[in-house]
């Protein structure tokens, strides 16, 4: 395979002058998708999105159109756009918020019109100061332009959009915790059932929660048709998608490539993309879909960026962040670093995650710092098993939300793939990488 000629969709304006302004957006044909959408029946828009088979870009990869179709009957209903991107190595929404906020707003309104929402909320990670500034300015411009508010573009459809800054918790990227936070409560994920916000969401009403990148695709899909989007990619993995490439490559960054036709190797090595492992080093392992995803080894580098293929192989594309680790990486340290993140970001609501994340963090640290014991490896696996019973994929969980089974991914991957390296730490009583 190779990198295809498919044109970028959501990042096509990134890097152009003043891309975040209304003037620039209109010059590039902005809000024509919305105008077209407002002339369509809402159900027809949903149909186009179903046809496009746009998969959610937030992590779970659920079909956006299907989610919309599941919206329960009671009204009012709400649309919430999840811009709380906080996972280490994921930085695509960050870029979209800063560089193309009007595209997000346009997508949000299209979504709200399609599902009949009374109001929309864009929840932006609190640390995105520039992103907040730009999308707030863009929203003001959009109101002035008549694209948001009463009687949008004279269509009779009215919608208010509210931008809400997050308060610094990773867990608020989990959609039910985000809803709790929007309601002014602690960011605790809601326990299931009810299973989906589409049934019971914000203020107890049916709610569609979509990721920033997901809604950013909507203007293009409305304008060009769902079929045009579905023509890109293979199978269920349609369209183009942003991959946040980070770690030990020569040229880390956000790359929007056609799904399923591009491979991890293309992403890492293509001259237009990652340009290879840094300093000519060898690939040791990579994380295919963010900090929660189990790791892959060099033997899996030719796998396509295909949601189902990666899932079948025991990991996930997740939020689309690919972390590359070369031969100089201490895998114990890498796994510990990720565990520590989950420990610090566990909300503390349910027992296995609250206590398990800290326990694993402390054991991993001890091993990395030379105080490990051989029995620690079995202990780690068993503690992980008590959070994600069976340690299989897709994971099962004893916790309320999926942050729980995200914790073991790095530790179990590390022990499974690099057991000798763990044992070396224990035997030498020190980290061999210094």
């Amino acid at each position: 395979m190779a990198v295809t000629d498919a044109k970028p969709i959501v990042t096509r304006r990134v890097g152009t002058a003043d891309s975040w302004t209304l003037k620039s957006y209109l010059a590039d044909g902005g809000y024509t998708g919305l105008k077209k959408a407002l002339s369509m029946e809402p159900a027809a828009i949903t149909q186009e999105v179903l046809t496009s088979n746009l998969l959610g870009r937030g992590g779970a990869g659920f079909e956006a159109g299907k989610k919309w179709s599941m919206l329960a009957k009671p009204r009012p209903a709400y649309v919430v756009v999840n811009g709380d991107e906080s996972e280490p190595a994921t930085f695509k929404d960050h870029m979209l918020l800063e560089n193309d906020p009007h595209q997000i707003i346009e997508g949000t309104i299209i979504c709200a019109y399609a599902v009949g929402a009374a109001q929309a909320f864009i929840f932006v990670r609190g640390e995105f100061a520039l992103g907040m500034e730009r999308i707030t300015a863009a929203l003001n411009e959009a109101y002035a332009h008549g694209a948001v508010g009463k009687d949008i573009f004279g269509s009779g459809f009215s919608l208010d959009v509210v931008i809400h800054p997050g308060a610094g918790a990773y867990i608020c990227g989990e959609e039910t915790a985000l809803i709790e936070s929007l309601e002014g409560k602690r960011g605790f994920p809601r326990i299931k059932p009810p299973f989906f916000p589409a049934a019971v969401g914000l203020y107890g009403k049916p709610t569609i929660v979509n990721n920033v990148e997901t809604v950013s695709n909507l203007p293009w899909i409305v304008e060009n048709g769902g079929a045009a989007f579905a023509a890109l990619g293979i199978g269920r993995s349609t369209g183009t998608r942003i991959f946040s490439l980070s770690g030990h490559v020569e040229r880390p960054g956000n790359y929007e490539v056609e799904m399923a036709k591009t491979t991890f190797r293309d992403l890492m090595e293509d001259q237009r993309l990652g340009q290879g492992i840094r300093n000519g080093n060898k690939l040791k392992a990579f994380i295919p879909g963010g900090a929660s995803a189990p790791w892959f080894g060099p033997d899996q580098v030719d796998m396509a960026l295909d949601q189902d293929a990666v899932g079948k192989a025991g990991s996930m594309l997740g939020s689309g962040s690919v972390v590359v680790m070369d031969e100089t990486t201490c895998m114990v340290r890498a796994a510990w670093r990720i565990t520590r993140f989950f420990h610090r970001e566990s909300c503390g609501q349910c027992t296995p995650c609250r206590e398990g994340s800290g326990w694993i963090d402390k054991v991993m640290r001890r091993i990395e710092e030379g105080g490990g014991r051989e029995s620690d490896l079995d202990l780690l696996l068993d503690v992980c098993d008590n959070i994600a019973p069976g340690l299989g994929w897709p994971p099962r969980q004893t916790t309320i939300c999926v942050l729980g089974p995200s914790i073991p991914s790095s530790v179990t991957s590390g022990i499974r793939m690099f057991r000798d390296e763990f044992l070396l730490h224990i035997k030498e009583g020190a980290c061999p990488y210094g």
């Binding site: 918790a169 602690r186 326990i191 059932p193 420990h343 610090r344 970001e345 566990s346 909300c347 503390g348 609501q349 349910c350 027992t351 296995p352 609250r354 206590e355 398990g356 994340s357 800290g358 326990w359 402390k362 054991v363 001890r366 202990l379 503690v383 098993d385 008590n386 959070i387 019973p389 099962r396 969980q397 004893t398 916790t399 309320i400």
Partner: protein
């Protein structure tokens, strides 16, 4: 949530560990399993609160579309055909894992923990957890313990974040003052900055806590649970009648714990009740009889003291007639003691000058003679009218019950002189001008086109629509500075609501029992009128009063005028409690001879000629009757310190010295006589009270027995039949307050609603006198409109005040606040004191300085002072009130 009172039939069948189990639709798996005798371990689950599913201890396997999955049993309702596995290796491993996780950061300092020995974490670790931990890292550390409130401390290292205390504070108490703070394994329960957990119900969180994180300040380090003995009893600090476990160590009370009585308290207690045990332990308790020698009260013997009392009673009666004798009080005595004193006063001495209330209640005819409701009936009524004092301040657990009802949709309508703790949950709060409540009630019944009693006509009309389906009226005295006759007249108006029933909101612990026992003028024991029951009682009592006597106000006026030669105070302190303090002082000084039976030397007792030390709560046996008329047993846990006697024994001894045998040697003897002679109590034998099915008490009078053959005996018991009839024994280590919990301290979720006992038919063929009926003839006292320069006084109580029992309870005494005049900001603005400040309050008879605070909950034209604040004789609101005036208008001035 699982409804503990749920009586819906089991129409769903699930399989638990391969066994078919019948369950109720909507019931959580954990509750259905428990009823079937399968205990699923848990920490966060509590049947009286919303499930949250956070501790993960109750994970079981439930079969879903994708096979068996670990599922929290407290959060998933049963569904027909559901397959549940609670004992598989997967479940065991998950439970082991959760317990090990819970102990990761738990300090395991059980040897120095109050909870050690009665700790659900300890118990369930032994029962379900791994033998030892594999955790060798450093645990989380916190400063410990820190105060959440003056009564509750928290040791955050022990906390397992089960959300029970925080849910209780928010959902049950309505005081969301404690919350989770922080994140992950550094999450802690704490207050908001500078806002203590000053809830009247804070002590419940200590009892609810499944570990030793929340600690009672007064109990901390006082005892180990295994050293405690306990009896079941009823709290008598107010008249709600919450069931409690009374615990002691070495003849000293150490703790009260709430017991879940489904019709009454749901396991909750207010802090006043919970911590009141310490007044019994007070070193200020009277240790010996005192007799007056000149200006001084000196210690004496029972023989000498009783001799003096008997002589005074005898000579007063023989010289001046029975009308020169009077008995005040008795509303804090058990039923048996109240009956013994009623018999002595009315049946031996022949006086009807007897009143258990101190001018702050309602006439017995109103309380006993209107159709009565239970708490449950009020909570399921089409509407509830509160014509009562602030329930949160005076009957706190009734407030909790009605608050819950309001949140479930029962509309509450308040007729009140100021906004109360319930106002935020009420559909309508009609703030009337003190003295004019009967006009408001009439307008509510008949409609009005003009404003009435300071309430807008439109508000009255809007409220009328809420009462179309009927109502339960919660009836008490919203303010003691407004006459009882006004409230009685209002009640007479409201009695016209179709199907109306009344729930009394009189405050003192056993005031309803005392009225039942005849401690009121014009009535005899068993809720009968003196004139109706004279013949009935003449066959069992030596005498019966010839005519209706005086009530408390009449007695005090007579005493002040020198017409009472002997005044008996039965645990009554009129100088502090009667609304008109000056009258009470003149009366106690003017009475010929005063004898006080009390546990403490109260203001009134200081003026007495003889003071007899009385046994206190938990030192005596007997029964008590709550505001519903529900009779429960009081447990004796300790023996009185020193020589205190129960009051009934004093009555027996005095009668003997007057030449009459009352005929009792024990409280059991007295109860047998009550059951025999008191018409309302017929059939409520000691056996009925002791019956397992009477664990929540027996409401008097008993229902008429069902006609023979109307309901087949089998069908009658079928409602609780089937696999769930048997209450599993002590299957739940978390439900029991205390370590050797009685069987009756059961599991709410599994509680089987017992058939109410019914009367077994008349015990004698003699026709009984009819029970009292309120004729509705009370006429309101017309009051002059307030002048433009005065504010009309509202005097009602706060929970913590200057009362004897609170002030003798060290943990509570400091919670009483100094007096404060609360008035509408507009009225204070007129004085140029919009922000509050020091003011002078003045009536014709008194004037003193108090702090004033703006309070928008007090309507314009009124001023509220807590009646139980300030010093009697100095700045107590009772100094302002003149019992001869229908209302009290107060000048509020800058000093």
């Amino acid at each position: 949530m699982a409804e503990p009172t749920d009586t819906r039939p089991d129409t769903v069948t699930v399989s638990i560990d391969g066994r078919p189990v019948a369950a109720r639709p909507g019931e959580m798996i954990i509750a259905a399993a428990e009823r079937a005798g399968v205990y699923i371990p848990r920490f966060c689950y509590h049947p009286r609160m919303r499930p949250v599913g956070v501790c993960r201890m109750c994970l079981v396997e439930v079969k879903g579309p994708r096979g068996f999955a670990l599922t929290p049993a407290c959060f998933v309702p049963v569904s027909d055909g559901q397959e549940i596995v609670t004992d598989s290796p997967t479940v065991k491993k998950a439970q082991d894992g959760v317990l090990e996780f819970l102990l990761v950061n738990h300090p395991l300092d059980c040897p120095v923990c109050d909870k050690g020995g009665e700790c659900p974490l300890q118990d369930q670790t032994l029962a379900f957890g791994p033998g030892e931990t594999r955790f060798v890292e450093e645990k989380r550390h916190w400063a410990k313990p820190i105060p959440l409130s003056p009564l509750v401390l928290i040791d955050r290292e022990r906390c397992i974040q089960c959300d029970r205390c925080t849910r209780f504070a928010d959902e049950v108490a309505g005081d969301p003052l404690i919350e989770f703070v922080g994140r992950g394994d550094h999450i802690e329960v704490n207050t908001f900055p500078d806002l203590p957990f000053s809830s009247y119900f804070s002590g419940n969180t200590v009892q609810l806590c499944p570990v030793g994180a929340l600690l009672s300040k007064p109990y901390r380090f006082k005892a180990r649970p295994w050293d405690l003995e306990q009896v079941e009893s009823t709290c008598t600090m107010c008249s709600v009648g919450c069931r409690i476990a009374v615990q002691s160590s070495s003849n000293r009370l150490t703790r009260y714990l709430g017991i879940d009585s489904d019709p009454v308290n749901h396991g909750w207690l207010c802090d006043q009740g919970r911590y009141s045990y310490d007044y019994v332990n007070s070193d200020q308790r009277l240790a010996a009889p005192l007799v007056r020698k000149g200006d001084e009260l000196v210690e004496s013997s029972w023989g000498e003291a009783l001799g003096m009392v008997a002589k005074a009673l005898d000579s007063a009666r023989s010289v001046h007639g029975p009308g020169a004798l009077a008995v005040l009080g008795g509303a804090r005595l058990p039923n048996e003691d109240a009956y013994a004193w009623a018999k002595l006063a009315k049946g031996v001495l022949g006086t009807d000058n007897v009143d258990a209330q101190l001018g702050d209640g309602l006439p017995a005819e109103v309380v006993l003679g209107l159709p009565r409701a239970t708490i449950d009936e009020a909570c399921s009524a089409p509407a509830v009218i509160l014509l009562a004092p602030d329930l949160k301040e005076e009957l706190p657990v009734l407030y909790l019950r009605l608050r819950e009802a309001a949140q479930k949709g029962v509309p509450i309508v308040e007729l009140t002189p100021r906004r109360t703790g319930m106002s935020r949950y009420a559909k309508a709060t009609l703030c009337y001008r003190p003295g004019e409540v009967a006009d408001l009630a009439r307008a509510l019944m008949k409609g009005t086109k003009s404003d009435v009693a300071g309430v807008r006509a439109a508000d009255v009309s809007a409220t009328r629509s809420l009462l179309a389906e009927g109502a339960v009226v919660v009836l008490g005295r919203p303010s003691v500075s407004e006459p009882a006759a006004c409230v009685a007249a209002a009640a007479a108006e409201l009695a016209a609501i179709p199907g109306v029933r009344f729930l009394s909101a009189l405050r003192r612990g056993n005031v309803h029992g005392a009225l039942d026992m005849g401690l009121a003028p014009g009535v005899l024991p068993g809720r009968v009128a003196l004139d109706d029951a004279r013949d009935w009682y003449s066959s069992s009592w030596p005498t019966v009063p010839a005519e209706r006597g005086l009530d408390a106000e009449g007695i005090l006026h007579a005493a002040a005028a020198g017409r009472i030669q002997a005044l008996v105070l039965l645990g009554a302190d009129p100088v502090a409690d009667f609304p008109d303090h000056q009258l009470a002082r003149r009366a106690v000084a003017g009475a010929g001879f005063v004898v006080a039976l009390d546990a403490f030397l109260t203001e009134s007792a200081r003026q007495a000629d003889v003071v007899l030390p009385a046994a206190a709560f938990s030192e005596r046996r007997g029964t008590t009757t709550n505001l519903e008329g529900r009779i429960t047993s009081l447990g004796q846990k300790i023996v009185p310190n020193g020589v205190a006697w129960p009051d009934w024994m004093v009555a027996v001894e005095l009668a003997a010295r007057l030449g009459t045998e009352l005929g009792f040697e024990s409280t059991e003897d007295i109860w047998s006589e009550i059951e025999r002679v008191a018409p309302s109590h017929a059939g409520i034998t000691r056996d009925v009270l002791a019956d397992r099915r009477s664990r929540d008490g027996v409401v008097a009078p008993l229902a008429e027995p069902a006609p023979q053959g109307a309901v087949p005996a089998e069908a009658a018991t079928d409602t609780t039949a089937g696999a769930t009839t048997d209450v599993p024994g002590d299957v739940d280590p978390m439900s029991d307050p205390g370590i050797d919990a009685a069987e009756t301290q059961g599991v709410p979720a599994t509680a089987v609603v017992p058939d109410p006992p019914t009367a077994t038919g008349p015990v004698s063929d003699e026709p009984r006198p009819p029970l009292l009926a309120f004729a509705g003839e009370a006429s309101p006292v017309p009051s002059a409109p307030p002048d433009a320069y005065s504010l009309r006084l509202v005097a009602s109580r706060k929970l913590y005040g200057t009362g004897t029992l609170v002030q003798r309870t060290p943990a509570l005494a400091a919670l009483a606040k100094p007096p404060c005049a609360r008035a509408n900001p507009t009225d204070l603005d007129r004085l140029g004191m919009g922000q509050g400040g020091r003011v002078r309050v003045r009536t014709a008879r008194a004037s003193f300085l108090v702090d004033a605070e703006p309070d928008p909950g007090v309507p314009r034209g009124s001023v509220w002072l807590a009646f139980n604040s300030g010093e009697p004789g100095t700045d107590g609101p009772g100094e302002l009130i003149d019992a001869a005036q229908p209302v009290t208008d107060v000048r509020v001035e800058t000093p």
